[in-house]
């Protein structure tokens, strides 16, 4: 029984410690915005159970968690202050479609075939590439799409 109570205490300590770390390091530090954020979150998730079940001492676990968060924070700072570092780490967006035409070199570079892209375009309501002015794969792995025929805006009616 006392060991269960101790495990609950360790869980609470880790919970509040992580809450504090996340709060101090900013809103977007760890999440799923970019692949690196995602992996960092997985690493942290994987580290905590060792502390819960007393496989490693609490202080050591907290120290290692801090080091992971701090490293990630440094990467984030590098991202912000050095655009070259950002491009190195996250690469640059890859265009797939320009003016209704496929760009085969972009598809090849990302190893995506055009059926996959068509599926995404359909989900956004475009029948085929002819309707698309421009589509590119962003660094987070999402496709940004701009249709040839843009939706009506309020200013269009005011003329």
């Amino acid at each position: 029984m006392p060991s269960i109570a101790a495990a609950v205490c360790r869980t609470a300590i880790v919970y509040f410690y992580l809450l504090t770390l996340m709060r101090l390091s900013g809103h977007r530090t760890i999440g799923n915005a970019t692949p690196i954020d995602f992996v960092t979150a997985l690493i942290i998730g994987d580290m905590v159970d060792g502390i819960f079940f007393n496989e490693i001492p609490v202080y050591q676990g907290l120290l290692c968690l801090s080091v992971v968060v701090l490293s990630h924070l440094l990467v984030r700072l590098g991202d912000f202050y050095f655009p070259a570092f950002y491009r190195l780490l996250h690469s640059t967006p890859t265009p797939f479609v320009r003016a209704g035409r496929w760009l085969p070199q972009g598809l090849r570079a990302e190893r995506v075939n055009n059926d996959r892209v068509r599926a995404i375009l359909r989900q956004e309501g475009h029948e085929d590439v002819e309707d698309v002015a421009f589509a590119q794969l962003e660094c987070g792995g999402e496709l940004s799409v701009q249709p040839v025929d843009l939706p009506l805006q309020r200013k269009d009616l005011k003329r």
Binding site: G26, T29, N32, A41, F80, P151, R154
Partner: protein, 170 residues
């Protein structure tokens, strides 16, 4: 590994699965549906505890106690955030403005350490190609970026069309 071991592992797996299902259900929609970065971490934590129980590295009682503790902490945290604006600010911070009236807000960007390229990627994903269209761009407390467009750049509605028609007629 004999048959009993296998059956025991299957039994533990089912038990843990049902237990986690109950915990998540009790926590409600907010925690799991609308992930903030921290809620995401909490979900990962639960996932890591589960495999220790399934492979009998820890006793079921111990594992359930830990998952239960995580659930209670999440509940208390969300309840406190709901009850008190002060605690909400303390644990989740406040939104940061990064675009104002079509211009990048450098101070907000530095505060959140978001680069111009990242903002542009987000704008493109929401179909915005001109910064002027954005009235306010905000990094919300869950890390999502929201853009509110200027009145003229907003999507025209059926009501707008009606106004335009009656203006043409008169």
């Amino acid at each position: 590994m004999d048959l009993n071991d296998i059956l025991a592992a299957v039994g533990r797996t089912v038990l843990v699965y049902v237990f986690v299902l109950v915990i998540i259900r009790l926590l409600g929609k907010r925690e799991i549906g609308n992930f903030s970065a921290f809620d995401f971490l909490v979900a990962l934590m639960i996932g890591e505890v589960v495999d220790e129980i399934i492979y009998a590295n820890v006793s079921i009682g111990m594992g359930f106690a830990v998952i239960g503790a995580i659930g209670v902490l999440e509940y208390v945290n969300s309840w406190a955030t709901y009850k008190s604006k002060w605690i909400s600010k303390l644990t989740s911070g406040s939104p940061t403005v990064i675009i104002e009236r079509g211009h990048l807000n450098r101070r907000g960007m530095a505060q959140e350490r978001i680069s111009e390229e990242e903002i542009w990627a987000n704008l493109r994903m929401q179909g915005i190609t001109d910064l002027k269209e954005v009235k306010v761009g905000t990094i919300e407390t869950d890390g999502e970026i929201s853009f509110v467009k200027e009145e003229w750049a907003q999507e025209a509605t059926k009501g707008d069309l009606q106004h335009a028609r009656s203006a043409v007629r008169s």
